[in-house]
């Protein structure tokens, strides 16, 4: 019953976010601020993780393809497929749930416990729209971060293959170009848009409806991370079934 009521309240929150919009002149600034906070400030960690994950995928693939009958270019092919289909959109999203999701829950939660949200409501501001709408819009920039993650991941694989001597550069590059299906990139972007919405809204829900003090802010961040990750993983399964199955 508690979960059903929470799901209901989450959807009511989403409805309220789009009702009674904040003045555009104010909202514009909020959106740019959130793009900077949520997307640009995450690029460093996304690039770092993608580079090394791409490298690890390449090394593991190379070490498992020991048969001399299997051509080396398949290392590049496997790296590309793994990075584009799964590692860039899903793995990066789980990292973003930890980084961005926790930031959203704790920042909104702190505003709740210090009565800043009450202050907005007393003034007649739609606090849900003011706080959450710019985050949703900012997160629509997330596919750009995923595109960077894809590129850096494959580049990391290339570096691991060529520097580590697992595959010749030319073989790796021809593997990356082999049987490329553009829809796979579209699929990854569709997933990342859905995940972006989830990452912007579920942590906001946990922050906005928080009750208690500083300790509860910490607890809410943890709960928000768990639930957002669970939803991302479940949606990943269904979207894959729906789009590729």
């Amino acid at each position: 019953m508690k979960y059903i009521s929470a799901i209901g309240r989450y959807f009511m929150m989403i409805f309220e976010v789009f009702r009674k919009p904040t003045k555009w002149s104010v909202m514009k600034g909020l959106i740019f601020k959130e793009i900077d906070e949520l997307i640009f400030n995450s690029l460093g960690i996304i690039i770092f993780i993608s580079f090394f994950i791409g490298g690890v995928v390449t090394i593991q693939t190379a070490l498992n393809l020991t048969s001399p009958f299997i051509p080396k270019y398949l290392i590049g092919f496997a790296t590309r497929q793994s990075v584009i289909l799964e590692f860039a959109p899903t793995f990066t999203s789980i990292i973003m749930v930890g980084k961005v999701g926790s930031y959203i829950t704790s920042s909104i939660g702190s505003m709740r416990v210090t009565e800043q949200i009450d202050a907005l409501e007393v003034m007649g501001v739609n606090a849900l729209n003011y706080l959450i709408f710019p985050k949703i819009i900012a997160m629509f920039m997330y596919p750009f971060a995923i595109a960077i993650s894809m590129f850096v991941g494959i580049f990391g694989g290339y570096m691991a293959a060529s520097v580590g001597g697992f595959a010749p550069s030319a073989d790796f590059i021809s593997g990356v170009q082999l049987d490329f299906i553009p829809f796979h990139v579209t699929y990854a972007f569709i997933k990342s848009v859905v995940f972006a919405f989830v990452i912007a809204t579920i942590p906001s829900y946990f922050g906005f409806y928080l009750k208690g003090g500083a300790l509860e802010v910490g607890k809410a961040s943890t709960t928000s991370f768990i639930w957002t990750s669970v939803i991302v993983i479940i949606l990943n399964y269904f979207l894959t079934q729906l789009l590729l199955g």
Partner: protein, 257 residues
């Protein structure tokens, strides 16, 4: 003027307000006092519309809160100013932007006009050259002043203060009390202050409502509170030896006059 009739509010079937009725007059400082858990904050938040009462009526001048349209309600909220217990300043904004916020949200003033108004109200609360500082860079007393400035920047008709003195030293607390009283007279606002600071009660309690266990136990002025025989009020207000002595001296002085 705000009129409250038979206000009831419960949380999870626990009644917090049990039929409170009173009237808060314009141009004076109206105080709500009572022990912790007496329902003061719930009462204040019900007046503000943050909590929806289970039953009872709240009238803002002639507007009945229960039956006004959403537009009227939005309009009404813009006529309210609120000073929160912890000031509730926006951490991410500097002082100037905190005070400017209601103007940016609800007016079409130019940037220059907004700046002029922000400086005007900051000067009114005796704050100078703080516009570019952040809330974490100023003292608790200054934060309260900024909160007052933000509350009055839109020229509200109603000012609500939730324990404006909490966490302040006695001198600053008195200054904040006096400031609120002065502003109330100057702007002719209906001011409601939720407090359990006895200095505030004695200094600025032009009208006092005493809540106990969700009921209105007593109502009067700071002069009447010295003379009241109501045991609950005297136990609460004169709980310290000093206040008992002050009361005794006041009664003797009053009898001699």
């Amino acid at each position: 003027m705000i009129q409250v009739e038979h206000l009831h509010k419960s949380f999870d079937e626990t009644p917090v307000l049990k039929g409170v009725s009173t009237t808060f007059q314009k141009g004076i400082t109206n105080l709500i006092i009572g022990a912790s858990g007496s329902g003061k904050t719930v009462f204040l938040k019900s007046l503000l519309g943050i909590h929806t009462p289970d039953s009872g009526e709240i009238y803002y001048s002639r507007l009945r809160l229960n039956e006004i349209s959403k537009n009227q309600y939005t309009q009404l909220r813009q006529e309210m100013g609120m000073v929160f217990q912890g000031s509730a300043l926006f951490d991410s904004k500097n002082i100037g932007d905190n005070v400017r916020f209601p103007l940016e949200m609800f007016t079409k003033l130019s940037h220059k006009e907004m700046n002029h108004r922000v400086n005007e109200v900051l000067e009114r609360v005796n704050l100078h050259n703080v516009n570019s500082k952040y809330p974490s860079e100023i003292s608790g007393g200054m934060q309260k002043r900024v909160a007052i400035a933000r509350a009055i920047v839109m020229n509200p008709k109603y000012l609500f203060c939730d324990e404006p003195n909490s966490g302040l030293d006695p001198n600053t607390a008195i200054l904040i009390d006096e400031l609120i009283q002065e502003i109330t007279k100057e702007y002719q606002m209906t001011t409601i202050i939720n407090t359990h600071d006895m200095n505030s009660v004695m200094q600025i309690g032009e009208s006092i409502v005493f809540l106990k266990n969700g009921f209105k136990e007593w109502e009067g002025t700071h002069k009447e509170i010295f003379k009241t025989d109501n045991e609950a009020v005297t136990n609460f207000v004169y709980s310290s030896a000093l206040f008992k002595k002050v009361r005794h001296m006041y009664i003797i002085e009053d009898q001699q006059n």
